[in-house]
């Protein structure tokens, strides 16, 4: 293995404009290159946005709108919406942005008519930044509740426990007196109220807007006005429910047992990852990413360090790359085992299949604990490397796992489940998402690939050492619950195949480029790091202004965006299938709500 990858190298990705030559000529005057230093992509006039996106989708082949997010450029009095679009055939992202002045009314045209996948993300921007999207069919708050005061991700919003703009806080470091922030708050708790607010005579907003948006078709009987009329009822599932995989809520309109309309309601675990992330220094965010998708902390680390490494222009040494891929693929095996176990839980086989899956996952957690010191929250990767080298003997443990134990256990699960009559009857043909819908709704990961779109970031836009590893992108074509289950089985086998190569080929040498630093220097600019997480594409959009804290830190969460398609998957299905479909999407609430 050659060692020359270890030094700082040019990581400038090929300009995204290259494959989409002619965009500026197609929209003269309303589309221009983003000329800011270390920024990429195009700036689009708001009036032309929908036309631009339509042309992008239909003429230039960018059929997948991956990420939509807002940025608040407070010093320039500007708000910006950033879009990342891809071609489903592969290649780098095309970034385009819309800028709007920071005075009310702040309105940007909605792209939900072009890409349905923008739906929840635009609602999130409305919630957190207060940008209205004209033409959005259901623009309500999504993470906070209706009636909440303020748009918390704006740079001038101060949370009740606000201390300073950025960490480390002066009072604690290097010599300060520690105080409890509760004591500085007039209510001695994490709350603040607008001055004019008074509880007397005030009525909470409640869920009226949500229920008003639920479709209620009052057609009698056969739809022709004759026959037996049925009454449609609205049913809530969650947030406390054993099958929602956490604090997740869905509201369904039922006609008999058939689902007419379904809306996910989230935010019950919204713990302000991004706001805290913008107060933190770059390094402090790594343990927070562990807590995003808490089943796959290692791969979350990977996405974040990739984004910051892109900005810093460094690359980890070869050994560190191998260790990273090893950890990430072990995570994928653990996650898919967990997902399959709990899908079976949702199908009614309570806990026994899950016990089989958890048993194997424990062995992988042992590897993590030996390597990083923690079972779940590994906090293992660093900018330009990993925190510590593999402990003695762990490679042998992994070798035993990936060559001997896990392949047998996967075959065993396969033998018990794949041909099982009940599993097949409950899952085949249920929750179908076609390839076109999957792209339109920005489904990612197993949900996308089970619908017949062979899109895997490890192949479509390779990072780390994946371009040198031999593996197949698993793909299934029916897009139902059963295929999503089968696809996870396939992916476990492919991950084991990767792991066998990694265990055999891991080189010696350094595990860190340069010295490990507490405070990294990140040059100004933007970067988007994306990895193929077990749940789908996990992206980190980081904007730096050269300060110790990121100016913008956004997580493109696959669990969150995959839920956009849930309503489509469930429509026309029976109410008992909702938990099965939800289980097959495989969400984790820490990531959905962040």
């Amino acid at each position: 293995m050659e060692e020359k990858h270890s030094g700082p190298i040019e990581t400038q990705s090929p300009p995204a404009a290259a494959p989409a030559e002619g965009l500026e000529a197609r929209f003269p005057g309303s589309v221009r290159r983003d000329e800011r230093q270390n920024f990429d992509g195009y700036l689009v006039e708001p009036g032309k946005l929908v036309e631009f996106a339509t042309a992008l989708r239909d003429e230039f082949g960018y059929d997948y709108l991956s990420s939509v997010t807002g940025v608040d450029y407070l010093p320039e009095e500007r708000l910006e919406v950033v879009y990342h679009a891809y071609r489903s055939t592969g290649g780098p992202a095309l970034v385009f942005k819309v800028q709007t002045p920071r005075q009310d009314p702040i309105v940007v045209p909605s792209l939900t008519g072009v890409y349905h996948g923008a739906d929840f993300q635009e609602r999130e921007i409305w919630d957190l930044y207060g940008i209205r999207f004209s033409g959005h069919p259901d623009l309500r708050r999504i993470l906070m509740w209706e009636g909440f005061h303020g748009h918390p991700m704006r740079k001038d919003y101060q949370e009740p426990y606000f201390e300073e703009e950025g960490k480390p806080y002066k009072n604690r470091w290097p010599e300060g007196s520690v105080y409890r922030i509760e004591d500085k708050n007039p209510f001695h708790g994490n709350v603040q109220y607008p001055d004019e607010f008074t509880p007397e005579g005030w009525v909470p907003e409640g869920d009226d807007a949500l229920y008003a948006g639920m479709k209620k078709v009052s057609a009698g009987g056969n739809g022709d006005g004759r026959g037996l009329g049925t009454e449609q009822i609205i049913v809530n599932l969650g947030p406390q429910h054993p099958s929602t995989h956490g604090v997740f809520r869905v509201v369904v309109t039922l006609e008999g047992e058939t689902i007419v309309e379904l809306k996910p309601v989230m935010g019950y675990l919204h713990r302000n990852h991004e706001k805290i992330g913008e107060r933190n220094t770059y390094l402090m965010n790594i343990p927070f990413t562990d807590r995003l998708d808490y089943i796959c902390s290692m791969s979350n680390n990977h996405g974040y360090v990739l984004a910051v490494e892109k900005l810093m222009g460094i690359k980890p040494p070869e050994r560190a790359e191998y260790i990273r891929v090893m950890m990430v693929e072990l995570t994928r095996v653990a996650n898919h085992l967990w997902a399959i176990g709990f899908l079976l839980n949702d199908l009614g086989a309570f806990f026994t299949p899950a016990l089989y899956a958890i048993n194997e996952r424990e062995l992988i957690l042992d590897v993590f604990e030996a390597t990083s010191g923690s079972r779940m929250m590994c906090n293992y990767m660093r900018f330009g490397g990993v925190a510590r080298d593999l402990p003695e003997g762990i490679l042998e443990t992994v070798r035993e796992l990936v060559f001997e134990r896990l392949p047998r256990r996967v075959d065993e699960l396969d033998a018990y489940l794949t041909g099982n009559e009940i599993v097949r009857t409950r899952s085949i043909g249920v929750g179908v998402l076609t390839a076109g819908q999957a792209l339109d709704y920005t489904a990612a990961g197993p949900v996308l690939r089970a619908s017949g779109v062979p899109y895997d970031v490890r192949r479509a836009d390779p990072y780390s050492i994946y371009d040198r590893l031999d593996f197949d992108v698993a793909v299934r074509y029916n897009g139902d619950v059963y295929d999503r289950y089968l696809l996870r089985m396939d992916e476990i086998r492919q991950s084991l195949r990767i792991l066998r190569q990694v265990v055999e080929g891991i080189p010696g040498g350094e595990i860190q480029t340069g010295k490990p630093q507490y405070q990294v220097r990140v040059p100004a600019g933007e970067a988007y790091g994306r990895v193929e997480n077990p749940k789908g594409e996990l992206g980190f959009y980081v904007v730096s202004n050269g300060k110790p804290n990121p100016w913008r830190y956004h997580v493109r969460a696959p669990s969150f965006i995959n839920l956009t398609a849930m309503g489509e998957m469930c429509r026309g299905q029976k109410v008992a299938d909702v938990v099965a479909i939800l289980g097959s999407i495989d969400i984790v609430l820490g990531e959905t709500d962040r």
């Binding site: 109220y193 302000n272 958890i358 820490g590």
Partner: protein
Amino acid sequence: MTDEINNPDIPVPEELKGQVAITTLDKIYNWGRRSSVWPMMFGLACCAIEMICTAASRYDLSRFGMEVMRPSPRQTDLMIVSGTVTKKMIPQIVRLFNQMPEPRYVMAMGACASGGGPFKEGYNVVSGVDTYIPVDVYVPGCPPTPQALLHGLMKLQQKIDNESISTSPWYSQGASEAIPIPILGPDLIDPRDFDRIAARRKAAAEPSPEA
């Protein structure tokens, strides 16, 4: 186990040994309760994953008679608050607590449930579940390992062992007060805090003495 409940202060005739056990009402009552604490099947965040692992075969919660997790609060004895308590979720948590029959116990599992944890400064995070509902056992860790959770459960068993049927509040007269359910307003409103909000508003409305 029999040693624990069998109290041989009262002499048993030789011929009845092995057939008669003499104990106190408190001991047999607490022995029954401590060996069948049914937790609520209720997970909030990361800690819930470790809670599931604790219930699985390697750590095996059923050794303590606690593997029967019930999704309905009406059938449970213990609420393990396993994860970050957010403002959006706290009304439901308080409602679930109110719905649990007494005797009921609450365990704050992990840093977030105990005091806000790493997310304490967040605008949607409650600084510990004990600001709303009474907590019996705190388990530190982020997340606590299954061993730590088991230790917390054993601490709860110790607490149960020391209770007495004669002084237990749930057999005394009158029903216990339900905890007022927080309201989602411009920010989270604790109904017990109405006076303080009004007082602050009054102070803000009055011109300050210097002006």
